[in-house]
């Protein structure tokens, strides 16, 4: 099923070319002003609608997945993080889940060998966790670093982050670590999808598309910074124009930048309609963000409705004679 990745790959190329040539043909205002505004709008509206949609759905039962000892008797040591019974425990569990991908950290790989012992061997499989963590943090750093294009003067925090990201002081312009880690991790995640038979079998075009898109964004960005070079001051004039609602299209900004910006815009617009919404979903997952204290504190189901039940009276009516004969107590003797 080569289509599943060739079509997204082609799509990303075409999208880039559209903006690259479009900007060259005098449509700079469209790709530089109209599209970015629409993309941000689509992102925010889409994101809010999606999360509010989740919020609108009820949480009828408190069903955390418990991954450790419950709180029961005082002398039995509870695992307060993996099986929290308080909101502070849940808070820590969620922090670790969101910032350290704790569940993914547990990942194992199973292997079965048909031999005398026929054992299934489980080995710790850390690479998905490492790559996922590297990918997300590098992405975050890249996003935050881009605030230098949206603020003037650039705040100290952003400058500090740049200094930290460029701490290796290699090359000119100085190499940003995130610029290496992000594409490397994304390529690893892509390689998993292409070469791990199981992951390949479950992957869809919608899994490849964001990866190619992000790789395309990274490639154009890296190219502009390290290889082809662009007029950074001119670009900043433009980005500052966008965020101060006085858009300008300065001269001399190459098509590469429009390609970069367009791919970013596509990512923004595509985000809410895609699996990328795990960004919001991870906060809301009821198996993680609820305390395991259902027996201690009653959870309310907003749509709990009455159901027909077989009452004791009906039961006794049905079996009274047999019960009396067997010497079982009954409420009514006949």
């Amino acid at each position: 099923m080569t289509q599943k990745y060739l079509i997204p790959l082609t799509a990303v190329f075409l999208l880039f070319l559209v903006a690259y040539t479009g900007a060259g043909a005098g449509l700079g205002w469209f790709f530089g002003i109209v599209v970015p505004y629409l993309a941000v709008l689509a992102f925010l509206v889409g994101f809010v609608v999606k999360v509010m949609g989740w919020t609108a759905s009820a949480v009828p039962f408190r069903i955390p997945t418990t991954c450790g000892q419950q709180k029961s008797l005082p002398w039995i040591k509870q695992n307060p993080i993996d099986n929290p019974d308080t909101s502070s425990g849940v808070f820590v569990r969620m922090l670790l889940e969101i910032f350290a991908f704790r569940s993914l950290f547990r990942n194992t790989k199973a292997a079965f060998n048909r031999n005398a012992s026929n054992r299934i061997i489980y080995s710790w499989e850390i690479f998905l966790w490492v790559a996922a963590l590297a990918f997300h943090y590098a992405f975050l750093v890249v996003v935050l670093r881009h605030f230098r294009f949206f603020t003037a003067p650039v705040p100290g925090a952003v400058q500090f982050l740049e200094a930290l990201d460029g701490i290796v002081q290699v090359g000119l312009p100085g190499l940003f670590l995130s610029g290496v880690v992000l594409p490397a991790a994304a390529l690893f995640l892509l390689a998993r999808r292409l070469f791990d038979a199981k992951v390949k079998y479950m992957s869809r075009a919608s899994d490849y598309f964001p990866l190619f898109l992000i790789l395309g964004i990274a490639a154009t960005g890296i190219s502009m910074r390290y290889f082809t070079k662009v007029d950074v001051t001119g670009i900043k004039e433009m980005t500052m124009g966008l965020v101060t609602f006085s858009p300008v299209i300065p001269d001399g900004i190459g098509g590469l930048f429009y390609g970069h910006l367009f791919l970013v815009s596509i990512l923004f617009a595509y985000f809410p309609a895609s699996k990328l919404m795990h960004l919001g979903g991870v906060f809301l997952s009821p198996t993680r963000n609820m305390a395991n204290n259902t027996r201690a504190r009653r959870h309310i189901n907003p749509w709990n409705y009455d159901v027909p039940i077989h009452t004791y009276e009906e039961y006794e009516d049905h079996f009274r004679d047999k019960m009396i004969e067997a010497g079982l107590p009954v409420d009514k003797k006949e």
């Binding site: 419950q70 039995i76 998905l128 479950m202 198996t287 993680r288 259902t294 079982l328």
Partner: protein, 549 residues
């Protein structure tokens, strides 16, 4: 037993490699294969419960006798559940198909069937959700090749049959949920899918008939009140033979301290019956020593709840009896026996569905004074919590040597492990009634525990190949400690486990026996006034009492 397939044949089939191509192309060719599916629900059982589309039907026949508007019913059903369950909606939206869950499922590990990877099991339904309920899906429908590219598909009869087949190959064990970075719980998706199937009359008989029995008669096995009493009295006789003490229990005793509810499987079949005798011995001991008054009920004579495998509504209907009976009898609180899914229902659903239990008291163990604050609202305590507390306070006189022939390991049942976190209580009890305890490898116990392969209503006879395949990960771990430490007894706190693991052992690790924890307690507990015991509850010689050859 599985007549059809031997362990070697089953092992030969395992291949974790996946086919090339797209799984969606294989939907049409999915064969509902004997040995892997359970028989259809009997019309009679579906009727008893007043559930829709009661009729005789057969999954392997082409015509499933569905209502004409079945697609509409399911569409409405999905829509309603998306509004009622945030879990369902989020789990449909956020999966990134990272594959972390893929090799965590015992059915995948035992069959190698890629559609048993939790992610693909969910995709069966998710693909329909994307197609019919998302804007992107609706747009893609209009573009040629769009559906395929998006991995979306309409709800066709083939898709329905494929879903039915695979959602009855999930035991709702939640192991995948432990590893999912978003906590996506396939059990929850399976629960939704099975609810949907029930809207158009597609339950399996191994679930529908126990549910109907439980509703009418009070327990899954349909044991009528007088028979239930007979069975317990039969145990009483056996115990008297072994110990010389009369352990006759109370039935429906108004004003008793505690109502005790356990799965009816413990009354019915070995080795659960020995666990049941363990309960009787414990309650007799507590009555004699401390005057604790425990009562059983024939009306609420089922701890398990196969309604949970049917729909939330059916679960609530069956579960309602527990509080109703506790209220009628005027007990202080409820004690629950060893059972798996029963405890998921009690721990995470009962109070919400059928509470508040304001007619009961916050459970306090009158013997130790321990207040079970963790059950302050639901007012139901797990028997291993209760027994562990008694042991900790030195309230039980135990003779460990009577279990000296048992080299134990412990199987954490899925639901108490991942839906509750009851991990150390049973271990504490085991270690106090038995000297030889060895854990299975860490990837197969506690929150990582493997299902017996027969949970969630799949412990029928006709799907034995599926059950034994699903049992493989548990079996290989058990075999490991059996060979390494000479483990001969697999302890468990689940009635389905006691039945299913026995079959598992017979098939995969024939030298290991299965025992409930309270069977061991029953053996070790020194009853006031007992005679010198020479036999354990299985009427086999106690260690040191073996007859000379």
């Amino acid at each position: 037993m599985a007549d059809e397939i031997t362990p070697d044949e089953l092992l030969d089939k395992i291949d974790y490699g996946t086919p090339s191509g797209d799984w969606m192309d294989t939907t049409k060719s999915v064969q509902i294969r004997p040995g892997m599916y359970c028989y259809a629900a009997k019309a009679e059982s579906v009727e008893t419960l007043g559930l829709p589309n009661a009729r005789p039907w057969n999954p392997v026949e082409d015509d499933w006798k569905l209502p004409d508007d079945w697609q509409q019913i399911l569409h409405e059903g999905i829509k309603e559940r998306l509004e009622r369950f945030r879990t369902f909606k989020i789990f449909m939206d956020v999966c990134v198909r990272c594959g972390a869950c893929a090799d965590k499922c015992h059915f995948f590990l035992g069959t190698g069937d890629p559609k048993n990877m939790p992610v693909l099991r969910s995709e069966l339904l998710r693909s329909v959700y994307r197609n019919d309920f998302t804007t992107a899906g609706k747009i893609l429908q209009k573009i040629p090749g769009g559906q395929r590219l998006g991995g979306n598909r309409p709800l066709t009869l083939d898709a329905l049959k494929e879903m039915w087949y695979y959602f009855f190959q999930c035991t709702e064990c939640r192991r995948c949920s432990v590893f999912c970075p978003y906590g996506i719980d396939t059990a929850e998706i399976t629960i939704m899918a099975r609810e949907l199937f029930n809207l158009i009359g597609l339950n399996i008989d191994w679930i529908a008939t126990p549910v109907s029995n439980c509703y009418q008669t009070g327990n899954h096995l349909g044991i009528q009140p007088h028979a239930f009493k007979d069975m317990l009295e039969f145990f009483v006789e056996d115990i008297e033979d072994i110990t010389g003490v009369d352990c006759t229990p109370n039935f429906q005793k108004k004003g008793a301290d505690i109502l005790f509810i356990t799965p009816s499987g413990d009354v019915f079949a070995d080795p659960g019956t020995y666990t049941c005798q363990g309960y009787l011995i414990l309650f007799q001991y507590l009555k004699e020593k401390y005057g604790l008054d425990v009562t059983w009920s024939t009306y609420a004579s089922e701890g398990g709840n196969f309604g949970f495998f049917t729909s939330h509504e059916t679960m609530k209907r069956l579960n309602a009896k527990m509080y109703a009976e506790a209220k009628r009898l005027g007990v202080k609180w409820i004690l629950g026996g060893e059972c798996g899914h029963m405890w998921r229902v009690i721990h995470q659903y009962m109070d919400t569905m059928n509470g508040p239990a304001d007619f009961l008291e916050v459970p306090v163990n009158p013997i130790t004074g321990t207040r079970f604050d963790n059950a302050a609202s639901t007012k139901m305590v797990h028997i291993t919590e209760f027994t562990a507390d008694l042991i900790k306070h030195g309230k039980l006189e135990l003779d460990k040597s009577r279990n000296a022939n048992r080299i134990m390991t412990f199987h954490d049942s899925c639901n108490p492990a991942r839906g509750m976190g009851l991990l150390d209580e049973p271990r504490y009890v085991i270690n106090n009634v038995c000297d030889n305890f060895y854990e299975m490898p860490p990837n197969t116990i506690r929150e990582n525990t493997f299902c017996c392969g027969s949970g969630a209503g799949l412990n029928a006879g006709e799907n034995m190949e599926l059950r034994m395949a699903g049992a493989l990960p548990r079996a290989t771990a058990l075999k490991f400690v059996h060979e390494k430490f000479g483990v001969n007894t697999l302890g468990t706190i689940c009635a389905i486990d006691r039945a299913a693991l026995s079959t598992l052992c017979e098939y995969w690790v024939p030298d290991v026996e299965v025992a409930g924890i309270h069977e061991l307690v029953g053996n070790a507990l020194i009853l006031p006034g007992e005679k010198e015991r020479t036999e354990d509850l299985r009427m086999e010689p106690l260690p040191g009492c073996e007859e000379e050859e």
